[in-house]
């Protein structure tokens, strides 16, 4: 057995030299002081390769055009076997990679490992950091949901605010008139072609330089007295394993965020960048007005410039480097400032103002469009549940709606409701507003929202149904959508009392002269329901 293996090994080695190259690689001599602090480079490399793998897998099912991008991603997440896992691994992998890359940089900084002759290795590493951030920035747009779209709108605005170069950069990003299809194609090409090629090349150079100069010893005169294999190889692999377990658990437990399909008309959406860019977002909030340029351009440029210049700092007599303790303090304070800015950005994220007497649950319900709330009511009352499950339950004749990414046009639905296949007797004729509400509900139904919809009280759903049946949205806005003739209804609770609104339904012109609102006489129970609904709407 052993002899046979030996024969195969030497046959391959004579012809390719790969086995002996591996052995030479593993037998690299490293300083005795090398240990757990030196594992981050390997972990970062592993995470990058994992991103490449999951990225390629996602590309196998992903359609890189706006619109289709979102639909194909929901298809991957909800229908493709293990698709949710692969997507979550890619999403959380990017965050973990950012963390590990920064830890790696901090270690190199603290150990002064950027000093002569390793300046090129360090600068290569700074470029790798920038590439990693660029990956995060371009990948953010690719799901083409509201979060992606509006986040990128902010990014491109910042890009455009750069003096002189701004308009040119915007044209390069394909976003001179805002984020659009060209922007999407540019970001996609950067993310899947340009950056991977650049990254692989730069990683190769980085590793080559690390090999050329060897691992930095703790003291200048320290001998190299151990080999990479077995001790350090085991440490690296153990660290990789820990990172993988963390990532796998995160991917298994936390869903990668996927909001609604990008809606460029949704002006109520509050965009947020990915967490690792939040600090920049917060700086921009603090430095608004004429100082904005300081946060969007000057500070980042200075920071990157300082990183590049670090190995070349000199005192009058000799080269300069931070002693280990000072470097640790600096690294820790940079992380602390970063963390504080990020925390501040999270805390200042505007939360919808909640009217008094409204529970947090009702507030969450009120953020859902009234058509969808009414839609789930019609879903139950129309007998749809005989053939369909919404989220889970005993398998039924028809498809499980929230789990399916299939979307039918409204005409198809109208036909389907009156002639459900397999059970003609169950046919149900809906009025036009009801049909509208149901098709909006079905067009947007997804697991996250369905669980919110399912916990709503019957009274709340009834309120939304009264709102729909009364065609209130032809004149009033709720959550930014609806007609502009009447006042928006969000925040009604802060402006009027329930008694006033009740009286107003019966005699609108008496209470607000000049109003063209028709008189509404509700059936018993309906008035309480619509009041409950309207008074939950946050400002």
């Amino acid at each position: 057995m052993r002899a046979a293996w030996h024969a195969v090994d030497s046959w391959i080695d004579e012809r390719t030299g790969i086995p002996s190259a591996c052995r030479r690689f593993l037998a690299e001599e490293i300083p005795a002081s090398a240990g757990w602090a030196q594992v981050f480079g390997s972990v970062a490399l592993f995470l990058f390769l994992l991103q490449a793998l999951t990225g390629i897998l996602l590309a196998l099912n992903y359609a890189p055009t706006p619109g289709d991008a979102y639909r194909s991603l929901t298809y991957i997440v909800r229908e493709v076997a293990a698709g949710r896992m692969i997507h979550a691994l890619h999403h959380w992998g990017s965050s973990l990679m950012i963390i590990v890359v920064f830890l790696h940089m901090a270690q190199v900084f603290i150990y002064s490992a950027y000093r002569k002759p390793r300046e090129a290795t360090w600068m290569c590493g700074v470029l790798l950091l920038l590439f990693t951030l660029a990956f995060g920035l371009t990948g953010y747009l690719l799901p083409w949901d509201n979060r992606a779209y509006w986040g990128t709108v902010v990014t491109t605005r910042i890009m455009g605010s750069i003096p002189f170069a701004g308009p040119m950069l915007l044209r390069l990003a394909g976003a001179p008139d805002g984020v659009g299809v060209v922007t999407f194609s540019r970001f996609y090409s950067l993310h899947t072609i340009v950056l991977p090629v650049a990254m692989f090349g730069m990683v190769g150079l980085h590793v080559l330089l690390v090999r050329k100069h060897g691992v930095t010893p703790a003291r200048v005169d320290e001998p190299r007295s151990q080999t990479f294999y077995p001790r350090q190889a085991l440490r690296d692999l153990a660290a990789v394993f820990v990172a993988f377990v963390l990532l796998f658990l995160a991917a298994a437990i936390i869903d990668a965020p996927l909001e609604r399909i990008a809606d460029p008309t949704d002006t109520s959406y509050i965009p947020r960048p990915e967490w690792y860019f939040l600090f920049l977002f917060e700086i921009l909030r603090l430095l608004n007005g004429p100082l904005e340029i300081l946060g969007s351009v000057v500070l980042p440029t200075v920071a990157v410039g300082l990183l590049f210049a670090l190995p070349f700092l000199r005192t009058r007599k000799s080269e300069f480097h931070f002693p280990k303790r000072a470097a640790s303090v600096i690294a820790a304070s940079v992380f602390a400032v970063w963390g504080a800015l990020t925390m501040a950005a999270v805390r200042t994220s505007p939360k919808p103002h909640r009217p008094s007497n409204v529970t947090a649950r009702e507030l969450r319900w009120a953020m859902v469009a009234p058509e969808e709330i009414a839609g789930i009511g019609y879903f139950y009352s129309g007998g749809c549940a005989t053939c369909h499950n919404l989220l889970h339950g005993e398998p039924k004749f028809g498809p499980t709606l929230a789990a399916s990414s299939v979307r039918h046009p409204k005409e198809w639905l109208a036909q389907h409701f009156t002639h459900p296949p397999g059970n003609a007797a169950a046919g149900h004729r809906f009025s036009i507003p009801q049909l509208n509400a149901l098709s909006i509900f079905l067009a947007n139904v997804n697991p996250e929202e369905t669980s919110t919809l399912q916990e709503m009280s019957p009274q709340f759903i009834k309120g939304a149904q009264v709102y729909i049946a009364g065609a209130c949205s032809s004149c009033h806005k709720v959550n930014g959508l609806g007609g502009g003739i009447g006042p928006p209804l969000n925040g009604l609770a802060d402006r009027r009392s329930k008694a006033w609104v009740s009286a107003h339904f019966l005699a609108p012109q008496k209470l607000s002269p000049g109003s063209i609102m028709p008189v509404y006489r509700f059936a018993p129970g309906e008035q309480e329901a619509i009041l409950l609904y309207l008074f939950s709407l946050p400002e």
Binding site: L50, L53, I86, P230, L237, F241, V406, H419, A424
Partner: protein
Amino acid sequence: MHFTPLLSERARVNECASCKEFVKAEAQNDVTDLLQRGNSIFRRIAYYRVVVEQKIERRSFLIRGAMIVFSSLISGTLASSVAGYLFGKPRIQRDDGWADAGEVSEVRQGTPQQITFERSRTDAWKVQNEKVSAWVVLNNEDSITAFSPLCTHLGCAYRWDTAKHLFLCPCHGSTFDKNGQVVTGPASRPLDRYAVKVEGSRLWLGPVERSRES
């Protein structure tokens, strides 16, 4: 040739002259001779060699074992996800394939008729409406048979030959009778049929069921 762990400990042994002599003798299988010469330094080296070798052996076994465990856990988990992703069936079975194909009363006794209707087809995340056709025959006992419009030989569209009272495929001359049975080859299977059901006055056609060899 074999990769030896803990080079440093080996190197220490090799630096000492006595050790070198010992190692050389060991390579020539003369160790017993050396030990019999009663030289205590050689005895000590021999003892040391045994202990160190054992230590090295044990440690490298543990390290190698740990590395194998770590890497197989990582690659095993990844491989199972990747295999599921690449070869697994999409989770949700959708689209029962039933479509409304028109009024039942339009299907008349006598010659088979070709009807066209719209059916939605699910292609991953897309639903497309497509026009499809069927040859429908009203049988004597008032039941309806609907044939897929493609010849079972190579998939050409066939037509009804009114003179011969047969379905005739223009490509290779296969013919089928009104019940879809093969009259002349090269087709070897009867015509494929749609699943059929009637609801009220509407005719519904379902998925095409592949016929068996006759």
